[in-house]
């Protein structure tokens, strides 16, 4: 792998946000926000330039310190990493712009939360580092950076509910990290290497590898709030400030999913059984139904949106059973691999755009009404048409109606399900969509209903509404370059690959 073209972009994508974050600490609150926003725009621009660079050059690497792996650490930016970094850049820039107006509007009452900016930049650096990492231990360090900044952001509002939820989030995140680290220690002990590329070659099936995979998967499932470890997500995401909720739901949980996908597909192929994939898929299926049902039952807007995240993350887990080939199936004849991969990547992107928009809209409503009880959404359509439109569009993408990104993801998922013959997942996808339609249409019905009594209503900066609407539109626009994007993704080694599962069973699974 060390003979690939070298590029400074991977190093800059991690270094620059942290440099700006460190610099911003020296400024007074107002200056922190200015420097922070500049840093966010810069990081976002850098992410997009790097994406273009990979599109032109193919996979690029950066050998940190000039030391080749396994001793040194290598940053690798292939098309899969580039797409995730590009997505983070676009969503991140919109959320940053929203945060700028959001905190400006609240500055007079509570000081404008200047710490948001350095923490968000650290989080962004951590996410970029995670997508680029090609080293089992370095992945752990990036998880730590992400976890620490995410928890700090979650408690930023200073409210008691947020602090309790944040403490739970911290404990869940640490448990996940420790489980992951335990697995890394076992792998390092048995193979003497941490580089993902080398690990794939030297990893041998056996009790140690299987157990390491088990604890690593467990840790990452806790991190990405996969069922049954979703308990920390709704309170933490719903009690945070609006831009923070958007960041946590749209981007942070995707990090753990990305590692899980990379490790399963690229590294641990030797100890994955067919039933392990089915178990992960089952966890995802339960999450889809349970999360959607819970979202349907909530009475406050942010809790609806947070529970909906649990469900939408479930769809991501449902691609795993499709990517694991039953014994005897050749990878060449498995024509459902590409649709399944496409479904995964598009579900990540569509959810990132739609859910960010949804949480930002919820923030606008809270700012206007002072609370987000769902009953007070009545007559919203006449007072804030742009926000209602954003909720509608994002909701349509979450349900999976054409021609949204969510539709494309779920369509591809269904296609993969039917081509692979694992028909039992199909009803779950449909039921999830129906339940999602239930709570989205309930919200829209309320928004268009006439108000019983006039509630006090504060005007909201237009910039906030524009950001939310553009993000919602983004969840539709991502479909336009689909063909080109899939072609680009196929240049990545992992995309479109499947694992030949091993025959014998044992202690496998995820929970």
């Amino acid at each position: 792998m060390t003979d690939l073209p070298t590029s400074p972009f991977p190093a800059l994508l991690v270094g620059l946000p942290i440099l700006v974050a460190t610099l911003s600490l020296f400024f007074r609150p107002r200056g922190k926000a200015v420097v922070g926003l500049m840093g966010c725009l810069l990081t976002g621009g850098l992410g997009l330039i790097a994406l273009v660079e990979v599109m032109q050059q193919g996979t690029v690497i950066h050998i940190l310190g000039g030391w080749d792996p396994p001793l040194g650490i290598l940053l690798r930016m292939d098309s899969l990493a580039a797409v995730f970094i590009g997505m983070t850049a676009v969503v991140g820039v919109f959320i940053s712009l929203y945060a700028w107006w959001f905190f400006r509007a609240r500055e007079a009452t509570n000081g404008g939360f200047p710490l948001f900016w350095p923490l968000w930049l650290f989080l962004w650096a951590g996410l970029n580092g995670l997508f680029l990492s090609n080293d089992l231990f370095n992945l752990f360090v990036t998880i730590e950076v992400i976890g620490m900044s995410a928890v700090a952001l979650a408690v930023l509002s200073g409210k008691t509910a947020a602090q309790i939820a944040g403490l739970r989030y911290l404990l869940a995140a640490i448990t996940g990290s420790m489980a992951y680290l335990f697995g890394v220690a076992l792998i390092y002990g048995s193979t003497g290497t941490l580089d993902l590329g080398l690990l794939r070659q030297v990893l041998e099936p056996g009790a140690t590898t299987t157990f390491a995979l088990l604890v690593i998967t467990l840790g990452l499932m806790i991190k990405m709030a996969g069922f049954p470890f979703h308990f920390w997500l709704p309170p933490a995401h719903s009690s945070a400030l609006a831009p923070v909720s958007a960041l946590l739901s749209a981007l942070v949980v995707k990090g753990a999913f990305y590692i899980l996908l990379r490790l399963w597909m690229e590294v641990f192929g030797v100890s994955i059984t067919f039933s392990a994939g089915q178990l992960i898929g089952l966890a995802g299926a339960i999450a889809v139904i349970w999360g959607s049902w819970q979202a349907f039952m909530q009475t406050s807007l942010k809790l609806i949106v947070a529970h909906s995240s649990v469900a939408q993350l479930g769809y991501l887990l449902m691609i795993f059973p499709l990517l694991i080939l039953a014994p005897g199936v050749a990878a060449g004849s498995a024509d459902w691999l590409s649709p399944a991969w496409t479904a995964g990547v598009y579900q990540v992107m569509a959810h990132a755009f739609a859910k960010a928009s949804f949480f930002l809209s919820a923030g606008i409503i809270i700012m206007a009404l002072g609370h987000d009880h769902k009953g007070s959404l009545r007559d919203l359509a006449s007072r804030m048409p742009m926000t209602v439109m954003a909720i509608g569009i994002a909701g349509v993408s979450l349900i999976g109606l054409p021609p949204s990104g969510g539709f494309f993801a779920k369509w591809m998922l269904l296609k993969g399900i039917f081509l692979s013959g694992q028909w039992w997942w199909a009803p779950v996808v449909l039921a999830g969509s129906f339940l999602t339609a239930g709570y989205v249409f309930m919200l829209l019905r309320l928004a268009f209903a006439t108000a019983r009594e006039k509630e006090p209503f504060r005007p909201v900066p237009k910039g906030l509404e524009v950001c939310a609407l553009l993000l919602a539109l983004g969840s539709f626009l991502i479909v336009l370059p689909a063909e080109y994007l899939i072609q680009f993704l196929e240049s990545s080694e992992a995309f479109g690959s499947g694992i030949q599962s091993i025959m014998e069973g044992g202690t496998y699974g995820n929970d």
Binding site: T22, M148, G166
Partner: protein, 328 residues
């Protein structure tokens, strides 16, 4: 003989951990945690990892212990002032509640026990992969230092270490985020005990020199930035306790500079060499030794400052409500 020592140590460690969890009072738990940390440090020494042993003793038994004691001081009046709370703490829940909880507890215990057995089996069966020690030793002459651990931390895998320094700074930022308090508030009560102040004054230079020794010794043996940082951080905490809050008297910008210097200089140096066409964190072998020493020293100063500030701020978060009470 050594097997006997190891066996005793293993039993002692597990015993202390159990006692720590089962202790009736929080203060007992905290002191048992001290002892547990020290037993663990001894175990690391027996395993030949002196670096880890120093860190374990300093962070787990030392720094964490100080934070726990501080939390304990805050808990105790709250519990003893409110008699109902005390009863709730002392009296076990009613028999019905215990019965209904018995089954899930039993299931959880069995599940965890099974998991532990599988984990033990996996650890036991782990083949020896040899690790990267040989590769690190082979490249040692080019790294600028003579101790493989330092070479790995500050040169071969400097990226990980740099990010971890960032995590420590993030920990501090998280405390600010959670407490919503201003940077460097004036301290509360100063210690009045003259003897305590003399002891602190006397031990400050000793700790400083020992830290500096560990830092410099890291070039050739076990030691280095993190170990030195904890000792220097201890100086800051003791001075704070003695009524000399070092960071409160510094100008704001200087305090911030000290806190961010380790992370910032590390990165700026990396970017400088990257601008020359090298990779990030690539040092020319001729200057690697001196550059690593500078990076390590600044990192140690920043981490020590972060530890001191974390302690000082947690201390203030707890003093704040009390001050409010006394004024009203």
């Amino acid at each position: 003989m050594s097997v006997l020592i190891d066996l005793l140590l293993a039993i002692l460690t597990v015993y202390l951990a159990l006692q720590c969890l089962l202790a009736q009072r929080l203060s007992q738990s905290v002191f048992l945690f001290f002892a547990f940390g020290l037993a663990l440090a001894l175990a690391w020494v027996r395993l030949g990892a002196v670096d880890v042993a120093i860190t374990e003793a300093a962070i787990a038994a030392g720094f964490m212990g100080v934070l726990f004691l501080d939390a304990l001081r805050d808990f105790s009046p709250a519990v003893s002032e409110n008699q109902e709370d005390l009863k709730a703490v002392q009296n076990p829940p009613s028999k019905n509640a215990t019965k209904s909880l018995l089954l899930p507890r039993l299931a959880l215990g069995l599940g965890l026990g099974l998991f532990l057995l599988i984990a033990l089996e996996a650890v036991w069966k782990t083949p020896d992969g040899g690790g990267l020690t040989a590769a690190a030793v082979a490249l040692l002459p080019e790294s600028g230092v003579e101790h493989p651990v330092t070479a790995v931390l500050l040169n071969f895998r400097a990226y990980d270490t740099w990010l971890e320094i960032g995590v420590i700074l993030l920990g501090l930022l998280a405390i600010y985020a959670a407490g919503g308090i201003n940077l460097y508030r004036k301290p509360g009560v100063a210690a009045k005990d003259p003897l305590l102040r003399q002891v602190i004054l006397f031990s400050t230079p000793v700790l400083f020199l020992f830290g500096a020794f560990l830092l410099y010794f890291g070039k050739t043996g076990p030691g280095g930035a993190f170990q030195a940082a904890v000792l220097w951080g201890a100086i800051g905490i003791m001075l704070h306790l003695g009524g000399w809050p070092v960071f409160a008297v510094l100008p704001r910008w200087l305090g911030q500079l000290i806190l961010t210097l380790g992370l910032g200089f590390f990165l700026v140096l990396g970017f400088l060499f990257m601008a020359r066409g090298d990779a990030l964190f690539e040092y020319p072998p001729a200057y690697a030794g001196i550059l690593i020493l500078i990076v390590e020293t600044l990192a140690a100063i920043s981490i020590a400052a972060a530890l001191t500030t974390i302690y000082a701020n947690i201390n203030q978060m707890q003093e704040e409500p009390k001050q409010n009470e006394s004024t009203t």
